[in-house]
Subunit: 175 residues, 2 copies
């Protein structure tokens, strides 16, 4: 199973504009890209905060083609939301979670954030690629792409324009 971290950030590395939660700053071009890109994945992983922010949209769009896994310290508090095979809640370390998903025959997993989830999976050494949308904005503050210090080396795979000033950069994560 291949893992791809997908995120959108300001040029200076913030995934939120200051204290505003979510990625409202992202361009329409990024949203279109993101929706289409997700079709290439049969599972995705996000944190509880990201889930809460997108809960309504996620619940409207549950599908057997893509399992959504929400990592949370308290899976029991989401007991009413769970739909096996479509929306599952887990309190499992990345290595165990990935082993479980592999055993269930999932092929491509998207890591969708937020920052804690990015750091957790990068630190586990399990992420194969990073697909980063870079919006033409400077925030100087907000939630950083990573929640913890890291020393990750990347190799640029491709750079493309999603919009006139919006870049999509794809990197391989060196292990």
């Amino acid at each position: 199973m291949r893992l791809t971290l997908i995120a959108a950030q300001s040029l200076d590395g913030f995934i939120t504009r200051h204290d505003t939660p979510g990625s409202e700053f992202a361009s329409e071009a990024d949203r279109t890209f993101f929706r289409e890109a997700l079709r290439g994945f049969d599972c995705c992983v996000m944190g509880a905060r990201s889930y809460r922010e997108a809960r309504t949209t996620i619940q409207k769009n549950l599908m057997p083609e893509r399992l959504r896994v929400v990592l949370t310290r308290q899976p029991e508090s989401f007991a009413n939301d769970g739909v096996p095979g479509k929306l599952e809640f887990a309190n499992t370390p990345p290595t165990q979670l990935v082993a479980d998903l592999r055993q269930r025959n999932f092929q491509r997993c998207a890591i969708l954030g937020g920052a804690q989830i990015h750091s957790l999976f990068l630190a586990s050494g399990l992420v194969d690629e990073l697909w980063l949308t870079v919006e033409p904005l400077l925030f100087g503050g907000g939630t950083a792409l990573l929640a913890q210090r890291a020393s990750v080396k990347l190799t640029l795979l491709s750079s493309q324009n999603l919009g006139p000033s919006t870049l999509l950069l794809k990197y391989r994560v060196e292990k």
Copy 2:
């Protein structure tokens, strides 16, 4: 006089790797680009910390073709370093400094950092372009590109590869 902010950062927006001062993380390709790019400027501005870090190199390379201005709250403590027309120390707000430089007929000024200087000049609305080298690294911590919160909109002018995985992104700063 046109102002261009020139910096190198990790993909996630840090101009230092964790607590290591300076841009030792920057690639040889970026260093070569930076040296050549500076030739296009007849003056440049940096903060006192950046000056201290590069003092030996700067003093060896003083030239009448490019005035270096160091912004510091204590110009008097650098009295022995100053060489009028080549290396000057000032405690002047950006608007005043730029007016002074214009009056002295300087045409192109490079803003060289660090983060405080970036924020000071961006907040003044005087910066025309941002030339940002993006290295294929994630640090998750360090000195951020900007020292203060901002809401800066940019327009992408060009994107080029300096090396296989190192990008040079040039943006116009929208005012």
